[in-house]
Symmetry: C2
Subunit: 479 residues, 2 copies
């Protein structure tokens, strides 16, 4: 007896229906509240307690339940009024490229397990490196190369592991953490840096969260040098520095050139995390933000944030791929094959934590071909211009102040009022369902963040959001 597999005529029919459902969702997205007001448990309670004993429902029944149960419970990240966190925007071409990946269903863990999956990825990473004008050392044609990770968190982890391999002189692979290794970043380094250090066995105590310049919120090179010297004096081993281009709180830009010179002096691995802001480097006029990158041993940015490619797609490069592979490779008999043993191919399983790999290069290929270099630049410029427009609104209202520079598409601002009032302002605007912003703290102060990324966001959405903020401020300041 065979399972009732979906036959291919039904797949075509249902597939068209799902494509149309998605197009309808995108068409009506701007009318929905950006977030759900339902309490915890609402979605779970609407679902049956057990899987159905028999199948056979048409896909239309699934789509009806998506409409009735799932959509009301979502935060709509693709909504033109979504300004929270960092953007995570996708696009039609990305979606279709990923659909092809689902349809092919191949595994790219090794070159031999699907050669085109590896080779297209290598070429796409070289294309991206050219698109961002990255240093030549990251190209696969030399000793470096790029790979798709699921996220910048995993990129930081992988960089940390390669750094430990280097800092230990190769000892770490066998012996593990048998001395105190240290990682360095600024107090505004992403939480994934501490998470990576914890995972790698350095412990939270192994991370030096360094002071920043109070004007720029960027890491202070003198603080880095002092921390390294103190650790060396204590007999600890400095392993990795993570510099950030575009911190999560305020898109601050660490001085990579100065940091890199220090790393070179002490022989410490430099990883540069440009998860969000890296995409800006597709525009020549924004490449100043990447100054000093030639010092980096590894670098990453997320096309799934601000480059129209659906999650997950973090682009990660190393200057010396052999160090990374040495750190991570494990070769059981059941994976041995002639191609790997020839040394003529890349096996991306050795560049990442998991073994299995989806064919993620397809969505990048579709995005890069659909938009072309100029199309992607236009998208970045649109985000920067919309953020600048919002910042102009803030500047024109004396009740508000900008809280940081806005070189990219994030604007940090606040009411000239106490933290609680700012928190109320945020809650009040978010409760309208027309816009969704998030917050941070800088030097202890509560700051609102507005990050632009959706291709659907226009000047009208920016202006509407500003009006909502100004009206909410009216109420808060006159009560």
């Amino acid at each position: 007896m065979n399972a009732p597999h979906m036959d291919l005529d039904e797949f075509r029919r249902a597939g068209h229906a799902v494509v149309d459902w998605i197009a309808d969702y995108w068409t009506t997205l701007h009318q929905r509240p950006v977030t759900s007001a339902d309490p915890p448990g609402t979605v779970a309670e609407a679902l049956p307690g057990s899987p159905p004993a028999t199948g056979g429902e048409p896909v239309e029944a699934f789509l009806a339940d998506l409409d009735a149960i799932v959509l009301p419970g979502l935060t709509h990240w693709q909504h033109p009024g979504f300004f929270g966190y960092f953007p995570a925007n996708t696009s039609g071409p990305s979606l279709l490229g990923d659909l092809v990946s689902s349809g092919l269903g191949v595994q790219g863990m090794m070159w031999a397990t699907s050669p085109a999956c590896t080779e297209l990825e290598t070429v796409m990473m070289d294309w991206l490196a050219e698109l961002l004008d990255l240093p030549p050392r990251f190209s696969s044609t030399g000793s470096g190369g790029g790979v798709i990770q699921d996220s910048a968190s995993s990129a930081t982890l992988v960089a940390t592991l390669a750094a430990l391999h280097r800092a230990s002189g190769g000892r770490w692979r066998g012996a593990g953490i048998d001395r105190r290794y240290r990682a360095y970043t600024s107090v505004h380094g992403h939480s994934s840096i501490e998470k990576a250090a914890r995972i790698a066995g350095l412990g939270a105590d192994g991370v030096r969260a360094l002071d920043v310049d109070p004007d720029t919120q960027a890491l202070r090179p003198d603080a880095l040098r002092a921390a390294i010297e103190a650790d060396l004096a204590a007999g600890d081993v400095p392993a990795i520095v993570v510099a950030t281009i575009g911190t999560t709180s305020t898109t601050a830009i660490d001085p990579v050139a100065e940091i890199g010179a220090i790393c070179a002096e002490y022989g410490i691995w430099l990883h540069v995390d440009a998860a969000y802001a890296g995409a800006a480097a597709v525009c020549p006029e924004l490449r100043w933000s990447h100054a000093g990158l030639e010092y980096a041993d590894s670098y990453c940015f997320d096309p799934h944030k601000w480059l129209l490619t659906g999650f997950d797609c973090d682009a990660f490069w190393v200057a010396d791929r052999s160090e990374l592979v040495e750190a991570l490779t494990v070769l059981p008999e059941y994976m041995r094959n002639a191609a790997s043993e020839s040394g003529a191919v890349l096996d991306y399983r050795d560049w990442q934590v998991p073994l299995g790999r989806r064919f993620r290069a397809l969505k990048l290929w579709f995005v890069l071909r659909w938009y072309g270099v100029e199309g992607l630049r236009a998208h970045i410029r649109s985000g920067v211009a919309l953020a600048a427009r919002f910042a102009d609104h803030v500047r024109a209202d004396d009740r508000f102040e900008l809280a940081a520079a806005h070189p990219f598409s994030l604007v940090c601002f606040r009411l000239r009022a106490d933290d609680d009032t700012n928190a109320e302002l945020l809650a009040s605007v978010n409760a309208t369902g027309r816009a969704h912003l998030t917050h941070t703290r800088v030097a202890g102060r509560y700051i609102l963040r507005l990050a632009v990324g959706s291709p659907q966001t226009t000047e009208a959405h920016i202006d509407e959001t500003w009006t909502l903020l100004a009206e909410a401020a009216d109420k808060l300041l006159t009560r």
Copy 2:
């Protein structure tokens, strides 16, 4: 100026075209060679050296290049003649559920960032736990719960981290690896166990690869006890035991109940890796393979292997979710929110390595609803029956021998000849392009592996593959 985003009419049109392209691929898949014979570099050389300056090509141009450049360079994992490694099979419903995920483009890192993404996942993991008749302690309605990981490799890593947190009495979070922790598995434990131990800072030396019973290839409990005692005597800290249900080489089944009793005696975390064979537990008649699971602190299996759900989808459960969250949580200001602080919700970012999360529960929901419990059982039974049919062919030919039991859908066999001859046999059959098998070594001997998983595989494919093997043996043995 806006980038030339794909408008929604074009998305509908192109989306239908991609769905049809996939249906055509599946329809003609059985006619293709399973693997590519092209040398390394073939695909890369066929691609332009740079991204296009401008976009604007229709998606049909991308599909034409897929046909011309990509398909000839693939190993076709969905092919009815693909019998390599373990299966990684998808299905129409999975593909459509994942397409919805791409279209929604939400982030499920926290409950607050898209409540339905978290709640549907929790419910689907409870459904799966019921489907496999897992111990009640893994249900989210108690102190446990399930989460989707990208792969069993990541599940093993996460289990290792939670185990270190427990073994250290909470010290590991801050101090990292500051003593020698040990992990235990059999010599047939998956390579990801060593990789997880290396990543976690235990080093390869921290893994005890234990002897197996020569008849069953299953871990010997007495060897485990002896290793634990030796490590304790040396002052080391036993942290985790990884038992396997269905090893990669031969689908051997470790004696989980006996191992679990030892873990309970010494207070060691027990992780059970059933990456491939876990799916078998949907069938009541195969649940004997999961005996002793009530001892496990964590358990995983891959719906993306043998349960018709596209990669990536590893289902991972813990008996005590608070230990896992304590081990992994990092809470920066920009992620603080009222729902998380209420304690009433699950934030899955704290259950995994990455921060970001795709809405992967949708594909599981579509698969479980489309097939229903009985449909999934039929799929598993079909694989077991096809493997048994193949094993009957092996038994009926005196030149061959079975190399292990075949409780699931993997058959291990060999020619009664030397290893080189067996390797030639494998290469010869794979070179036909009609079938693809891989190999392993057991007790030093070269073994061929045939793993059934594709919904398209029928008795005719099994019989054809056997004929290819028998004919190749004719040539090899008479030359």
